[in-house]
């Protein structure tokens, strides 16, 4: 199986879907002539031309609104946010329009669009450019929220997101763009709302998504040295959430830690914990513990940035806590 980067996997997903369906088009800042701020859209402008790969002004509300309006009349737009930090300027189009028109119209309208781009912390870009907003989008009925952690998942999930008839918020991670992994050569899609066990183990369940899976995997390696086998469950899609897969694992391990790159306060991890304590109450041998970012804006200094993020060592500590070690 070929080994490629997350970047190339995302690029291949868009290229294949644009070849397959002429209603798919892409728009965003620097997506065409510049070939993408993070080079995710490399080569697409050359193949598909300016109407299907559209450079936009720096106008996030227009980017999102044009995508939503085009989707309402049958197109399948992919709106790239250079980063999800800037999606706050487009939030009205997503929350009040993309997510609402089907309901407000009594089922007359659909919005088959994808908004995608990097989310989460990058490297030393400080408070306005290092934020994890998945909890915001996952809160909104009408949206689908996807956060892949491997190249294979990224490609299969993005293809499903493009073909799906609902508005999909597809949150990538800048730090993962160079992550390499095996990606099947043949055509495949991965259903939205289907989680995946990234590591098998019997002693504790770690639930993590996107870049947090890296922290969790590193923690699992450290724990393995002490004879603790952690199972890593990656839901891959936060809305709808594959709680069955999480429950299945917790019922086996009886212990659960949730790791997220976002803030603790009202973070998505709290939703996971709520479901686990209700769904697996009789199976739990310890309260579920969360490992999150610090509840402060992201600082610039690399030492403070490290302290802010959920490091593998903190995941190890949390696992010890639920194992009473």
């Amino acid at each position: 199986m070929p080994v490629i980067t997350m970047r190339d996997a995302l690029n291949a997903a868009m290229k294949e879907e644009m070849r397959r369906d002429p209603s798919v088009f892409l728009l965003g800042e620097e997506v065409a002539e510049y070939q993408g701020a993070y080079k995710i859209t490399q080569g697409l402008f050359q193949e598909f031309g300016e109407w299907r790969v559209r450079d936009t002004p720096i106008a996030e509300e227009a980017i999102a609104g044009v995508a939503v309006g085009a989707a309402f009349v049958g197109m399948r737009p992919i709106a790239e946010m250079m980063t999800f930090n800037f999606s706050l300027l487009a939030l009205d189009q997503i929350v009040n329009h993309a997510a609402k028109y089907r309901y407000m119209s009594g089922g007359q309208i659909r919005c088959p669009m994808v908004m995608r781009g990097p989310s989460g912390a990058a490297a030393q870009v400080a408070a306005q450019h290092s934020q994890a907003f998945e909890s915001w989008f996952a809160h909104i009925p009408g949206l689908v929220v996807v956060m892949p952690s491997t190249p294979k998942d990224a490609k299969g999930l993005l293809k499903s997101a493009i073909r799906d008839d609902n508005p999909v918020i597809f949150m990538e991670n800048e730090v993962l763009y160079n992550l390499k992994g095996e990606v099947p050569e043949e055509e495949y899609t991965i259903p939205l709302g289907l989680g995946d066990v990234k590591r098998r183990g019997k002693d504790v369940t770690i639930v993590a998504w996107s870049r947090s899976t890296q922290f969790a995997l590193q923690a699992a390696e450290l724990l393995a040295k002490d004879g603790i086998e952690a199972e890593l469950v990656d839901p891959r899609t936060l809305r709808p959430l594959d709680e069955d897969l999480i429950f299945e694992s917790v019922r086996k391990t009886n212990r659960c830690v949730v790791v997220e790159e976002g803030w603790r306060y009202a973070g998505f991890g709290a939703e996971v914990v709520d479901r686990v304590q209700r769904g697996c109450f009789d199976d739990l041998d310890a309260p579920v513990v969360r490992v999150t970012a610090a509840d402060v804006p992201m600082p610039y200094s690399k030492m403070l940035e490290k302290a802010f993020l959920p490091q593998p060592e903190r995941v190890v500590e949390a696992v010890h806590q639920v194992l009473y070690r």
Binding site: F25, W51, R52, R54, T56, P57, A59, E61, A62, A64, G65, V66, A67, V68, G69, A70, A71, F72, V73, G74, M75, P77, D92, Q93, N96, H97, Y101, R102, Y103, M104, S105, G106, G107, Q108, I109, R110, P112, P141, G142, V144, S160, A161, R163, D164, D165, N166, T189, P191, L192, G193, L194, T237, P240, L241, D242, E243, D244
Partner: protein, 360 residues
Amino acid sequence: MTKDEALRLYRDMLLIRRFEERCAQVYVEGKIGGFLHLYIGQEAVAVGAMSLLRPDDYFLGSYRDHGYALARGTDPRPLMAELYGRSTGISRGKGGSMHFYDVPAGNFGGDGIVGGHLPLAAGMGYAIRLRQTDQVVLCFFGDGAVNEGAFHEALNVSALWGLPVVYVIENNRYGMGTSLDRASSVKDLYQRGSAYGIPRRDVDGMDLLTVRGALAEAIDRARREKRPTLLEVETYRYRGHSMSDPGKYRTKEEVEEMMRHDPIVRFTSVLTEQHRVAQSELDAIDKDVQAQVTDAVTFAETSPWPTNEELFQDVYVRSPYIHAKTADNDPAWRAAQKDDRLPEPFAPWVQPAAPAKVES
């Protein structure tokens, strides 16, 4: 314009007025709830514009949206039922006054966020360019919307990319209770089009034929030249911003002065002078319209309420790309349907024959 065409336009304006007068009445009676923004006084804008659209064109408007749907020919029965919150409503009781949609008629609503639908209009225009058809998009909004960022972002990309959208500012002089003088640094709102190099024009919105002339030119430009236009249509709402607004920010004299330019009265003189329409003919139309509105109220009042199951419908589209087992854990996904639920066409309105007089 033939006499029949002129009478049709007159009837459309009158239908909006009588429909909304009845809305105000039943609102006060507590039969409909929420916000109710009346269009009374602005009828010439919706009717003039809609009379020029092709069946395959698209339009969007603000939350003061009853007039667009009625002028486009959507049956008043599901519209009134929507206000009553019944499951027979055009939006199945989920939208209310601000959210009338009729997708088969190209009506994409009824947006509740000031200026929020302008980027959507640009997106529909973009889709038209991608598909290389000659449809157009009409986008109506109030004078309040021109100060929103969305207005500027939408106008810029529409001009930049050549999108077939006609942006219609319905300048009724007040954004809720704030007069234009207190909200806009530039008083001639159409001039804002100059910032984006967009063809622009100031139009008397109280005169149906003037509105039609300006719209025809703008629609033609969009259809043939793929260029947007910004029209400032000067109009006036006789009622408050919504039903809860006593309108203390403007004088009685101002309102009375504007009512002297009433678009329906003005068009009546065209009918009687140019088309030799008799007053008795106009009276008969009014009677027919009032009967149609009464029929719509009866339809609404006798329609069923939505069931609790309907609460979860219409959030998502059921799709093969969503893992079925996960979807089944969530009531909104369980209730999701694969197809869109488009409104069923109603039989055209026919006034019931008056019962024959029985001699006593």
